[in-house]
């Protein structure tokens, strides 16, 4: 049914229903008793379908998706590791799933215990003093972490520090979060090895610097070997160090951000701690801080006293940033993952991921341009093919990979290389899978030489082929209603 192409609205038949609700119990009341001017007159364009219609529809569109269980998913910076089934089983537990966030804490001790213990495990694994699990996603964590930095400076009566240093290799969220937090970005150019240039860093330091955001390993998959010097420089200038946890998977088992001198960080539980990406969310972006900064963490907080877990709202907190406790069931999955691996296996995550990435780096270096030599960490960045004849671009390589049943790597990021192709094989991938990928990549390199048109046309074996993005942006058809209008106007 790969050719299935209906929208749910197109299955609609006004007499069908897909629900079963309890019968009316209190017929003396009816919603029509509400004053007419409070009620809706506007048409409601929802589908009217049977239960099986719904199941078939969503099953048929689901098979046009590529998931981690379909095949290799080497999407750089996204850490597409296996999402364990046991995590899902635990998250489906009604004793957790059906808890109202305002229930008395005496009735939620199990849920709070999971939450509290996850906070302490994340502290231990990252070397930071205290965590808040409230942020909903990585970008949300960045915003909250920057709020901590701003709150810290303002609390000291220092209102001048409003600049955040960000390397040009950083994720786009870093500068965006900075501005949303009411601060300004000072971008510094990376050196020829893709790392922070210490001289350029020194040149921008002054008493307006609030801090620096750094991803380590950086988005090129390279470890910032001057990290101790960088944190020292920032601290001496009165700033704080923010660790963007996007690439934490590389370090799990090897290095802790707190030990490198970072003061604030976020962790993407949906990357390093195996919770599913869900087609773009829900994720979770816990924020961790040093002891000095702990008082600024957002409300509400989960604390423990004499084996009793409770919710605390503190007057020193930076404020509230979510309805309640963040994406609780995502945190519960991460907790399950940590308990499944235990201290023994957590130590192997970073090393295995790094071994896999370096193996790919070595094997593909003969056909693809490796702009930065040396060992990478958990991911490797190439700048397109070495042989740039035939105008075969990174996009073509990415699209051709889809024909071979593999997901494309991240492309055109980082921005430092025009044909960037960023590959992240996680620790859950076997040597056989990686060897298959390497073979396919070499095959594509040969095709680029012998039959470049094949790449330009790719993909051809996917549910649809390349799309018309200009049409989408110009026509602005964002809903079924827009679609109907478009069809009617077209005649």
């Amino acid at each position: 049914m790969i050719n299935y192409n209906k929208m749910i609205f197109e299955l609609s038949n006004s007499e069908r229903i897909g629900y079963s609700l309890p019968r009316e119990k209190f017929i003396e009341f009816h919603i029509n008793q509400l004053s007419d001017d409070l009620l809706r007159k506007q048409e409601l364009l929802l589908p009217e379908v049977s239960e099986l219609d719904v199941l078939r529809h969503f099953t048929n569109i689901s098979i046009k998706n590529f998931g981690v269980e379909n095949g290799f998913y080497p999407l750089g910076s996204c850490t597409m590791k296996y999402n364990p089934k046991i995590n899902e089983e635990m998250a489906a537990n009604k004793a957790f799933r059906n808890l109202h966030p305002l229930q008395p804490t005496s009735t939620t001790q199990g849920a709070l215990e999971v939450y509290y213990n996850l906070q302490t495990y994340l502290s231990e694994l990252s070397g930071l003093h205290e965590f808040s699990l409230s942020p909903y996603a990585g970008a949300h964590g960045e915003l909250v972490g920057l709020m901590v930095i701003k709150a810290y400076h303002e609390d000291r009566g220092d209102f001048r520090r409003k600049k955040i240093i960000i390397p040009d290799s950083a994720h786009g969220t870093n500068p965006a979060s900075t501005v949303v937090c009411g601060m300004n970005v000072v971008e510094i150019e990376s050196n020829e090895l893709g790392r922070v240039d210490l001289e350029k860093l020194k040149a921008v330091l002054n008493d307006e610097i609030a801090g620096m955001m750094l991803t380590n390993p950086n988005t090129l998959g390279i470890f910032e070997n001057d990290i101790c010097e960088i944190t020292k420089l920032i601290h001496e200038a009165g700033g704080l160090m923010y660790y963007d946890g996007a690439n934490l998977n590389a370090l799990l088992g090897k290095v802790r951000p707190g030990d490198m001198g970072f003061d604030v960080m976020h962790i993407n539980l949906h990357k390093t701690f195996s919770t599913p990406h869900g087609g773009g969310g829900p994720g979770s972006g816990p924020v961790g801080v040093t002891e000095t900064l702990a008082k600024y963490l957002p409300n509400p907080r989960i604390k423990k006293l004499d084996d009793y877990y409770f919710v605390e709202n503190s007057g020193t907190a930076l404020g509230q940033i979510s309805s309640y406790f963040g994406n609780y069931l995502v945190a519960l999955r991460a907790y399950t993952y940590i308990r499944t691996l235990g201290k023994e296996n957590l130590k192997l995550v970073g090393p295995y991921a790094t071994l896999n990435a370096n193996y790919i780096s070595k094997a593909l270096g003969t056909a693809y341009e490796l702009p930065i030599k040396g060992y990478c960490m958990h991911e490797v960045v190439f700048n397109g093919l070495i042989n740039k004849d035939n105008d075969v671009r990174t996009l073509d390589i990415a699209k051709r990979l889809l024909d071979f049943g593999m997901h494309a790597p991240t492309v055109y990021f980082p921005l430092l290389f025009p044909q960037a192709i960023m590959i992240e094989p996680t620790e859950t991938e076997s040597k056989e899978t990686i060897d298959d990928f390497i073979n396919v990549m070499h095959k594509i390199a040969i095709e680029a030489k012998e039959d470049p048109d094949k790449l330009k046309r790719a993909p051809t074996k996917t549910p649809i082929r390349r799309t018309d993005e200009v049409f989408a942006a110009k026509m602005m058809i964002f809903s079924y209603k827009d679609y109907l209008e478009y069809i009617n106007n077209r005649g």
Binding site: F58, N65, L102, G110, G182, Y324, Y375, D468, K481
Partner: protein, 444 residues
């Protein structure tokens, strides 16, 4: 060996050989010795699957599943079995953001369908692909209003849920924007105070319906005042109730936003759920978040893609209006399936059944003479009463019978002392409601 790591000894040796090194540690040579973590993590040892199940069984005993008469943004609505069966499909659950449309049509299509449903429920022209929750969606709506109006102040109705207010305040404070409150009068926002406070700095006005007390406010006249001041009207509405209540478009809203948990989502101890945000097309380029659009592939087949990405952080970086880089996609799928199953009629029935139960409970409680209604206004599934019964007495008595309801609003601030909130959904039976009334009737 460990079940998630396929690396055999032979694999590792062969890979190391390819790399011309003798141990994985050599790959970490760029890491200064001083920061290498050589000790054991102070976290528990690994667990087998059955140990883990036992562990969670123990933890579960420390939680108590209660009969919920509680609301305030998180409601206990019926969840059709179909939803879990579909959302747990790995194709939906484990995939990434649909940046490769050729192999992401599943995700893109349900996002388009989700947007269509939010579009029709709000009546506005365009919905984004979803936000984290109702509170952050509202805070982002405030940012959006400031960007559109090129002004820096937000007026917040005093009848907004304090959680939403707190999140808006945090967001505005750090972005160095201003806010003020519009006073409340008898449980609803005071239009006279709005008139006084609308000035040239006001970018947007935020109201909520049904409001924090459960009251369905009538915003007749608001939109005209606000538009005359060149400000934007932001309506935060419980999405489920829009199946029957006047749409934000009919209220004259420029932006609609709010929480979608009421679409049959589990309470989940507060998350994940999702927030929605919709607006008119004129403002779409200032709208935060992802948007999916309709197009075709090069063979002319129907296709969906993420579009207008030039607004977003990965392109605009420090010039983006929002830093959001995800949506609550899987929860948007949840909402889409729920709304597909319910349709227009189901949504109406859910609201009617909730209305009936809530009004039955309301009358019964007033008949006990232990509760009074300080507002005497119109409500749907949630209402607020005043009582002199000490809150500890109520809570203890209800918990003993496995009920959570009658939330004391003073947990949100002293000004709400003595007020207590009840919510009734279609799931509550007559027996449950009568039981609640009996317990409360016996208290003093």
């Amino acid at each position: 060996m460990f079940k998630y790591f396929p690396h055999t000894k032979a694999d590792i040796e062969s890979m190391l050989k390819t790399l011309n090194i003798s141990s994985i540690d050599e790959l970490f040579k760029d890491v200064p010795e001083s920061v290498i973590f050589n000790s054991d993590y102070d976290v528990p040892s690994f667990m087998s699957e059955s140990e883990l199940r036992n562990h969670f069984a123990e933890l579960s005993k420390k939680n108590q599943e209660l009969t919920l008469f509680s609301g305030l943004g998180i409601y206990d609505h019926y969840q059709p079995a179909v939803i879990d069966a579909l959302t747990s499909r790995q194709e939906f659950m484990t995939s990434y953001t649909p940046y490769q449309p050729e192999i992401s049509q599943g995700t893109l299509q349900y996002i388009f369908e989700y947007q269509s449903m939010i579009q029709t429920l709000t009546g506005l022209e365009v919905s984004n692909a979803s936000m984290y929750d109702g509170t952050t969606a509202t805070a982002e709506a405030c940012f959006m209003a400031c960007a559109v109006a090129k002004r820096n102040k937000i007026l917040i109705s005093s009848t907004l849920n304090p959680n939403t207010v707190n999140v808006i305040k945090t967001y505005l404070k750090y972005k160095e924007l201003e806010w003020d409150f519009i006073a409340e009068k008898d449980g609803v926002v005071d239009i006279e105070d709005l008139k006084n406070k609308l000035d040239k700095d006001v970018a947007g006005v935020v109201v909520q319906k049904p409001n924090f007390y459960g009251i369905i406010e009538d915003y007749e006249g608001f939109a005209d005042l606000i538009k005359a001041n060149k400000s934007l009207f932001i309506v935060n509405a419980d999405i489920s109730t829009l199946g029957v209540l006047k749409s934000p478009k009919e209220d004259g809203a420029d932006i609609a936003c709010g929480e979608c948990q009421s679409l049959g989502m589990p309470a989940a101890f507060g998350g994940p759920s999702l927030g929605y945000l919709a607006t008119e097309k004129t403002y779409v380029r200032k709208m935060p978040g992802r948007i999916c659009g309709y197009t075709h592939d090069l063979e002319g087949r129907r296709a969906f893609v993420l579009t207008l990405q030039a607004r977003e952080q990965h392109i605009r970086r420090s010039k983006a209006n929002s830093n959001i880089c995800s949506n609550q996609s899987l929860m948007a799928l949840f909402a889409t399936i729920y709304l597909s199953l319910m349709g227009k009629n189901g949504l109406e029935e859910v609201n009617n059944l909730s209305y009936q139960g809530a009004h039955y409970l309301y009358e019964k409680l007033l008949q006990t003479n232990k509760f009074t209604d300080p507002f005497k206004k119109t409500f749907l599934k949630e209402f607020t009463l005043e009582t002199t019964i000490p809150k500890e007495t109520i809570q203890t008595a209800l918990l003993e019978k496995g009920i959570f309801g009658g939330i004391e609003l003073d947990v949100f601030g002293e000004q709400y002392e003595g007020l207590i909130n009840f919510s009734v959904t279609e799931k509550r039976t007559k027996v449950e409601i009568d039981n609640l009334v009996n317990i409360l009737e016996g208290l003093s």
